[in-house]
């Protein structure tokens, strides 16, 4: 958790963004992140991100659900308190299927969403730095971490990639607990400067 300096470029079209990403990466810059208002198909590949393994987690949660449901109901009906309902078998498998299915789905879905939130470090009360107010509206924002020395040159380079607007600003790179209606210290400082 520390406030760092970033060179920020704002693009107004995907068609400009993609070549820009390519140029920036081949020029050797390490892109801190790209912010888009909606999922841009193929951007993760362009940025060199690995494919997410979220679905594998989902599968494991699902299997856990299946096992829990079958094990729990099986234990209750055969061991804990076997009873006779309408002459049904003690282990009435066909009648277990609906609940087994539901719990499989429930475990998978809830587990995946929690994992999603954990991986993305998002939850109510979490705050992240918004580089450009329209990055959740229609602008595409690229941020590169810079030092005092290379800030100007990076900015200039970003400008050359077709950015509509560029700037250098201090920003908290990670997440923190905070409210979006309050300005953080570094933001106020930045504004004053």
């Amino acid at each position: 958790m520390s406030v760092k300096k970033f060179a920020v470029a704002v693009y107004d079209d995907e068609a400009v963004l993609f070549p820009a990403v390519k140029k920036v990466r081949s020029a050797g810059y390490k892109i801190h992140d790209v912010y888009t208002p909606f999922a841009v198909h193929g951007l993760d590949v362009a940025l060199g991100e690995k494919e997410s393994d979220l679905h594998v987690a989902g599968f494991i949660y699902g299997i856990t659900g299946t096992a829990t449901a079958l094990g729990f109901m099986g234990w209750i009906f055969t061991t804990d308190w076997p009873q006779n309902f309408g002459g049904k078998p003690t282990f009435p498998l066909p009648a277990f299927i609906p609940i087994v299915f539901e719990l499989t789905v429930l475990f998978a879905a809830v587990g995946m969403v929690l994992t999603f939130c954990y991986l993305n470090q998002i939850m109510p009360g979490v705050k992240k730095h918004i580089f450009h107010p329209r990055q959740t509206d229609d602008k595409f924002v690229m941020a590169i971490e810079v030092t005092d020395e290379n800030a100007a040159s990076t900015e200039a380079f970003l400008k050359s990639t077709g950015a509509e607007e560029t700037k250098v600003e201090m920003a908290e790179a990670d997440w923190w607990y905070g409210r979006f209606d309050q300005k953080e210290e570094y933001e106020i400082k930045q504004q004053l400067a």
């Binding site: 009873q83 309902f85 309408g86 002459g87």
Partner: protein
């Protein structure tokens, strides 16, 4: 004018009796005029399909002996076309007590005197007029025929029965014997005297042709095993299902009800009500079909309603059948009802949350729901007396009528016949204390005890010496049947067929007569 009364109204303030449906009309809490369908039609009060649904009955004015009363009309087949009848003993004042006050109409004023000066229970000249008004009668059974072809009751004339006592037995064996093979392969060689093998088997021919008689084969052997007289019922029980068989070791309670002996008097209903703290609900609630009786007597008419002489009446006591494959037990979400190892279908009132799913899924419609707080037993105060007249069962004094061995049920739970489980447990405990086996007849259920004609026999079916066993499997086995046995509910209650001392059984439709056994199979 003929009369029927409850001891001339001497016990009219007893809500049990007020709520007991009249054996013939199935009406409660009121008196009314009964008349034949023909007369009703003439006078614009005919029994229509709508009549079943609509509880508003037409009110007629009756004038005789210079007096007039107004009474609702009930149409009852079998009444002579020129006779109407009213029950005495109604229209009491409030002084008689809460239950009977202001019920019905007092018709004593209509009574004249006969030549000897005695009160005359009939009057010859009656002026009957439709007033155009209507009045609601609380009737517990609104459909009066068992649709003739519904195989829920079996009736034979004495001659038919004499000619072939085994008619019912064979009919059942034909229909159910179809499902007795342990592997589902149906072999037709199995049952002998099936007449033509009409309802037979999907697979029968191929299998039969394949094996021939000489073919030694495990399936054929299995089929042969069910050949013997006693075993096909057991085989149906075990193989007519995809479920395993739950054996009852020790006790296995069973009941037999003889349709021949039953006179429909209803003492079983009241005995049960007294024994098991069954609530009285009041007229308004009976109108909403919220009646609570654990054992009811279904009354059906057969014959041509326009010919009073052709009418035959039939009574079928109906109570929880304690099915071994009970459709109600499966569906309870909270385990409030399940099956005992003694073959009883039991209720845990404490556990019931009142989804009513069990009652819906009961093919016999014998489960009773506590729609309201009849007994001031639930957690809401003062929510009992909203709908007019009630019995006074919640007085401190009258509460003493409650049987302390039996729970008083609160609002929102399901209840039904328990086979008087408190008595059975009591009898078992007594025998155990005395260090001996329980004898047959020691455990009696209330309805059995009260039945004046001994139509109900009850006992342990696993005991080969018991009356119920002998009746069911030896003495009366050709008359035994279970209601709806083709859906494999395996009731622990059986009925004995009705044998009529009449030349003809009116409930038999012509098709049934000619096709007989197919019907049962279908």
């Amino acid at each position: 004018m003929k009369s029927r009364n409850r001891r001339g109204a001497a016990w009219s303030n007893n809500p049990w009796l007020q709520e007991m449906p009249d054996p013939i009309t199935k009406c409660t809490w009121d008196n009314y005029v009964i008349m034949s369908p023909n007369r009703a039609k003439k006078m614009g009060a005919e029994l229509t399909d709508l009549n079943e649904v609509d509880r508003d009955k037409k009110v007629f004015s009756i004038k005789t002996n210079g007096k007039e009363v107004k009474l609702p009309v009930l149409v009852v087949p079998g009444v002579h076309d020129d006779v109407i009848a009213v029950a005495l003993g109604y229209g009491r004042s409030k002084t008689v007590g809460k239950a009977a006050a202001d019920l019905g109409v007092n018709v004593y004023p209509l009574m004249g005197q006969d030549a000897t000066g005695n009160l005359s229970f009939y009057a010859a000249a009656v002026d009957l007029k439709n007033t155009g008004e209507t009045y609601q009668l609380a009737i517990t059974q609104t459909h009066h025929s068992y649709q003739n072809d519904r195989p829920i009751i079996h009736e034979y004339s004495l001659n038919e029965f004499k000619k072939d006592p085994n008619q019912l037995y064979n009919k059942r064996k034909d229909a159910l014997g179809h499902y007795t093979s342990p592997d589902g392969v149906v072999h037709h060689g199995g049952h002998g005297d099936a007449g033509h093998d009409a309802h037979g088997a999907k697979d029968a021919h191929a299998a039969q042709d394949a094996h021939g008689e000489a073919h030694a084969d495990p399936h054929a052997a299995a089929a042969n095993a069910t050949k013997t007289e006693e075993d096909w019922q057991e085989a149906y029980r075990k193989n007519g299902t995809l479920y395993p068989n739950f054996e009852s070791h020790g006790m296995k309670w069973g009941m037999s009800i003889d349709l021949n002996s039953c006179v429909g008097g209803g003492s079983c209903t009241i005995a049960c009500q007294a024994e098991n703290n069954v609530s009285v609900v009041g007229k308004n609630q009976v109108l909403l079909v919220h009646d609570m009786h654990w054992i009811r007597i279904d009354r059906y008419f057969a014959g041509d309603p326009t010919k009073p002489d052709s009418i035959q009446t039939l009574f079928q006591p109906m109570l929880c059948q304690h099915c071994d494959n009970a459709p109600c037990e499966n569906v309870c979400p909270v385990n409030a009802t399940n099956h005992s190892s003694e073959g009883m279908n039991q209720m845990a009132y404490n556990r019931c949350i009142g989804t009513r799913y069990c009652a819906n899924n009961c093919p016999y419609k014998v489960r009773r729901f506590n729609w309201r707080d009849w007994n001031e037993a639930d957690c809401f105060d003062d929510n009992v007396y909203t709908d007019g007249r009630r019995d006074d069962i919640n007085d401190d004094i009258t509460r003493m009528v409650l049987n302390p061995d039996v729970t008083v049920r609160s609002r929102g739970v399901m209840e039904k016949c328990s086979f008087c489980v408190q008595r059975l447990q009591g009898a078992k405990a007594t025998a155990k204390k005395q260090g001996r086996l329980m004898k047959d007849g020691e455990a009696k259920v209330a309805c059995q005890q009260a039945c004046p004609t001994d139509a109900i026999v009850f006992g342990n079916v696993n005991d080969r010496e018991s009356a119920i066993f002998k009746l069911r499997y030896e003495d009366q086995k050709e008359r035994v049947f279970h209601v709806l046995e083709d859906i494999h509910t395996l009731p622990n209650i059986n009925y004995l067929s009705k044998i009529r001392n009449a030349s003809e059984v009116m409930s038999r439709n012509p098709e049934e007569a000619s096709h007989g056994s197919e019907k049962a199979h279908a």
